[in-house]
Each structure stands twice: as C-alpha cells, then as structure tokens.
Amino acid sequence: MQELKFKPKSKIREFLGEKFITLNAFIALLAILLIFVFIFKEAIPIFTDEEIKQEASLDKMTFKQVYYEGREAKFSWQPNSEVPKYSLYPLFLGTIKAAIVAMLFAVPLGVGAAVYSSEFASRRVRELIKPVIETLAAIPSVVLGFFALIVLATIMQNAFGLVFRLNTFVAGVALGLAVIPIVFTVAEDAMTTVPRSLREAAIALGANPWQVSLTMVLPAALPGIAAGVVLGFGRAIGETMIVLMASGNAAIISASFLDSARTFSATIAAELAEVVFGSAHYSVLFFIGALLFIFTFAVNLSGDMILVKLKERMQGKTK
C-alpha cells in the first residue's frame, strides 16, 4: 500500500485545481473582450464629448468638409495642422490600394504553389516547398519592411523610373510576401483534405492526374481556397510595419498605385506616440484601431466558418 505513487488527496484540492484550470481557459476569451472594451472606451469620446465632436465627429471623418471659408470642400487627413482635419477617406483609400496590390501579387502565387504542392509535386519536392513557405512566414514583418524600404524600392525605381521611391506598389508587393504563406497554408490544407474516394472516382472515369486536380479537387476545395484569400486579406489590411516603412506615408487622394499612400495601421503607428492623451486626435486613432479590430474580427470569423463547414462536408457530415 505505502508504495502507491498516488496518494488519495483532498477533494478541496482537486476542486480548486479544476477551477484554476477552468479560469485560465477563459483568459483568451477575456482578452478578446478586454481588447474590444478598451479600444472602444478610448474611441467613444468621438460620439459623446462635445469638444471632441467639434473637431472630429463621425460626420467630419466620413464626408467632405469645408476647412477654410471660400474654398471647396474636400477630404483631408491633417491632424496636426492649425485646422485639424480628420477625414478617414485618404487613409481608407491607401489601405485598400495597398491590400489590392498585395492580393494581386499573393493570391496567384500562393494558390499556384498550393496546387503544385498538393497535386503535382513528388513527396520529396513537397518536403522542400513547405519549409520554404514556413521560412517566409517566419520572417518578422519589420524585416520585410526593411527589405522593401532599402532594397526593393531602389530596384523598382531604377527599373521603372518611378517619381516616388516609396509608393503603394512597393509596399503592396512586400505586403504580399507576408500574405503568401497564409493563402498557401490554408489552400493547401483544403486540397489535401479532399477525400481519396473523390479522386479515385475521377480516375476511374478516365481522368488523368491533372484533370483530377482541376475538375475534381480544385472545385471541392474552392471554399477552403476562398477562406485562405479572405484570411490573407485580413492580414493585408491589419499589417503595420511593412506599410509604415515602405508606403511613403502620404495621406493623399490618388487612384495611382505609383503614388505614396498611408494606411490605417501605419497612421496609428506613426502618430500615436506624439499625440496628447485624451485629445481628439487620440480618440480618432483609437477609433481607427476599433475599425481595424472589427474588420479583422469579421474576416477571421467568416474564414473560420468556411473552413469548419468545409471540413464537415469533406468528412461526410452534411446537415
């Protein structure tokens, strides 16, 4: 008896242990809630504080404003000028433009590589591709930002004779490098979970390997590939250091991808350090943070939902 390793312990200890573990599990949930509460708490004065509303109401952030008498109304982001201007439109435009470039660059490469890896590559080649993508994913975004700023911008300026060395295009390409691993991983996962039976059925019907891929596997895995694109887009919108370093940070309204641009995330990063605690500018930056948070939350939730549904369908659990 006395050699038993496990001595019967008190029930209280067991009970407390279980409660402690349970409590810990709620920290992730609590963190999401706290992020939500504290970002919004600092943004709320925009809607409630009369003084701040004078400077930056929701109205002023979304619509064209006449800033100087006699001049035409326009969108402008100049929070530090004598007449502070808080139009979010230039930032929105910059964010979307950079994300578009990133997606145009990353989706074909990410999906293409995923198709090759899951459908055409031999086992050996696949074992080479995966670590390469993992390595790309492991590069810190500040390093990608550095590379875009110091190397890529110069190469592109010399190659295309660009007016602005730092522009939306350069930032978008570097951003794409950060998005590729997300698109690749999710898309590849989706394709490898396509059941063998489906492939075998297509082969039995006389399809050769690439026809199996294109007419059977790809359509079946399409929701998963879409989820990869959605999650990648979320990353492209939220990523900070790359656009902060490589986009040129000019909050201008321009349709050209060769002009500088300023994104939501870069605006927070560049301006928060110098802002007066509790000022209109401070609240607006938190409001931008709240927008980013809501957007990425929605994107991640929908991406996850697509993947869960796809997994259920692949396992034959259709409801």
Binding site: E14, N24, A28, L29, A31, L109, I133, V142, F147, S265
Partner: protein, 320 residues
C-alpha cells in the same frame, strides 16, 4: 435502404462522347504554371536571404554583439537591443506559457470537443491570432499602461508621478504574451492529442485523481509540444514591433533595463528606427544590415529548433 443504393449506382453510364475528360490532352500547362509560382516564391526568398546575409555578414563580430551603439547609431554595436529583446521575451514566456498550457489542458481534458464552451474559447483563440499587431499595441497602451499601471499609481504612488502608468518592459511583455497566447495553446493541444489514452487509463486505474494525472502524466508527456509552442512564441514575440512601440520600447537608452518598469531597446524596433529615422541612411547601412541579420538568425534558429522538436515528437507518435 438497399434498394435505393442499387438504383443510384445503376444509373445509366454516360455515352463515351459525353465524357468530360478527354484522354489525350497532357497536363503540362497547369503543372508548368503552378511550378512557376513555386519557383518565383523560392527565388524571392533566396534573394531576400542572400541580400541580407551578404549585407550583414561583414558587420557581425563579437564587438558588434557586445557593445552599445555610438555616434548617433552610426557606429558601435547593438548589445542593449539584444539584451532588451532577451529580457522582454523571458518575461513574456513566464506569462504566456502557464496560461497557454492550462488553457490547452482545459480544452483537451475537461470539456467535450463539441461543447458550447469549447467552441466559444476556440473562436476566441482563433480570433486573438488574427487581431492586427498594432491593435495589440493600442490595447497595451489603453489597458496595461492606462488602466492597470495608472490604477496602481493612483493607489500606491500618488505623489511621485508615473511609476507604473508609463511605457515599461513589463507592459510590453504582457502585450506580447497575449499576442503569442494562441501559438502556445495550439502547439500544446497538438501534443496533448498524441498522448495515448492507455497512459491516462493506467493512471486512473492506479487510483490517481484527474489533477494528479494531469500533473504527473499529461503535462510531462506533452513537454515536447509545450517546448515547441514556447519556442515558436519566442520567435514570434522577438520579431513583433508594432505591439511594443507604445508600450515600452525606446529609441535609445544609455543604460540597460534592470527593473520591470524600465523602458528597453529591442532588435526589431532598433531596425525600424535606424531604417526610417536615421539622418544618413548610407552611413548606418552596415549596422542596419547587421542588426537585421542578427534578428533573422535568431528567429530562424528558434523556428528550426521548434520544427526539429515537433518532427521528433511526430515520429514518436507514429511509433506508438
């Protein structure tokens, strides 16, 4: 039942000319196009790595790694940034690993996988992983510095001005801990799933309670996974700049951080500062490249170790 299935399988076979797949066409075009995508990615990665290694290899020396920056960061080394980064991730690991491991234990051992609570926590973990780094920075400023730190100051240090309610290494580390929490949870869960149920059953059969089983069997058995998760978290945390910009990182400090409420220098932030704020980028370039190479080597080394541990873990699982 039987009848319906037989009628389905007995459906008329399409005549040959209606077959969607023509047997003759070869698959060179799709195969070639997707291969091009792979080659482009590999080439870009090789170019980035090559550029950084060639640019930075000449700078790295023992002196570079052990001396502080001098002359407006145009000369000297990066020791304070390395020290700050290590200090930062140590605090982060102390905070994140216990919470992440216990959360994983809860998800795997205490609840059914389809229960509402498990799903809710999983959604939270997934979403936490997708929150932009800069939003974590805002949160760290609003919650840790403003609310927690400011609260402590109000209660204990009213007359002294900000003691905790200011950017500090503790707040930066806690912000990073939240950001890396999903990494630790996911990795530990993977390890927990590999533990054979016979081990647990044997433990229960010997009269052990659940808590004893967790402490003596489950946690020790999943150690490789916990280690992998911790290392990946460190690799991720060491490279993130956006969350620490407002919560504790400093441009330049003449001293090393020694207390939890000190500010600190950090490798990633140092790179950002040198690349964007330097008056003469050409002069700082060698040091800049050297710093980037150090950070990159650090993250890759950590990831490599994590991958090796993970693959040996998977092999062990395959042998069971």
């Amino acid at each position: 039942m039987i009848n319906t299935t037989t009628t389905e399988t007995a459906a008329p076979v399409a005549p040959a000319h209606e077959l969607k797949f023509k047997p003759k066409s070869s698959g060179y075009i799709p195969k070639g196009l997707t291969l091009v995508a792979v080659i482009i990615i590999i080439t870009m990665l090789a170019f980035i790595m090559g550029n950084i290694i060639v640019g930075g290899a000449g700078t790295i020396s023992l002196e570079f790694l052990t001396h502080p920056p001098e002359n407006g960061m145009e000369e000297g080394g990066i020791f304070p940034a390395i020290f700050g980064t290590v200090f930062l991730v140590i605090i982060m690991v102390i905070a994140v690993v216990p919470i992440g491991v216990l959360t994983a234990v809860y998800l795997q051992e205490y609840t059914r996988p389809d229960s509402r609570m498990t799903r809710l926590i999983r959604v939270a973990v997934n979403n936490l992983a997708g929150v932009p780094a800069i939003v974590f920075g805002l949160f760290g400023l609003g919650f840790f510095i403003g609310f927690v730190g400011g609260g402590i100051d109000k209660v204990f240090f009213e007359s002294e001005g900000p003691v905790w309610g200011q950017p500090a290494i503790l707040w930066a580390a806690l912000t990073l801990a939240l950001l890396t929490l999903p990494v630790v949870i996911v990795s530990t869960e993977e390890a927990l799933r590999t533990i054979p149920s016979e081990l647990k059953e044997a433990s229960y059969a010997l009269g052990a309670t659940k808590l004893q089983t967790i402490r003596r069997i489950i946690i020790p058995q999943s150690m490789p996974g916990i280690l992998t998760g911790s290392i990946l978290a460190v690799g991720r945390g060491a490279g993130e700049v956006a969350p620490i910009m407002f919560t504790g990182a400093a441009y330049y400090l003449p001293y090393l951080p020694s207390k939890l409420n000190d500010q600190f220098m950090e490798l990633g932030y140092h790179i950002y500062v040198m690349a964007t704020q330097s008056p003469d980028v050409e002069k700082t370039k060698p040091i800049l490249y050297g710093t980037v190479l150090v950070l990159l080597l650090l993250t890759f080394l950590l990831n490599l170790v994590a991958i090796l541990i993970r693959s040996s873990m998977r092999k062990r699982r395959a042998n069971v």
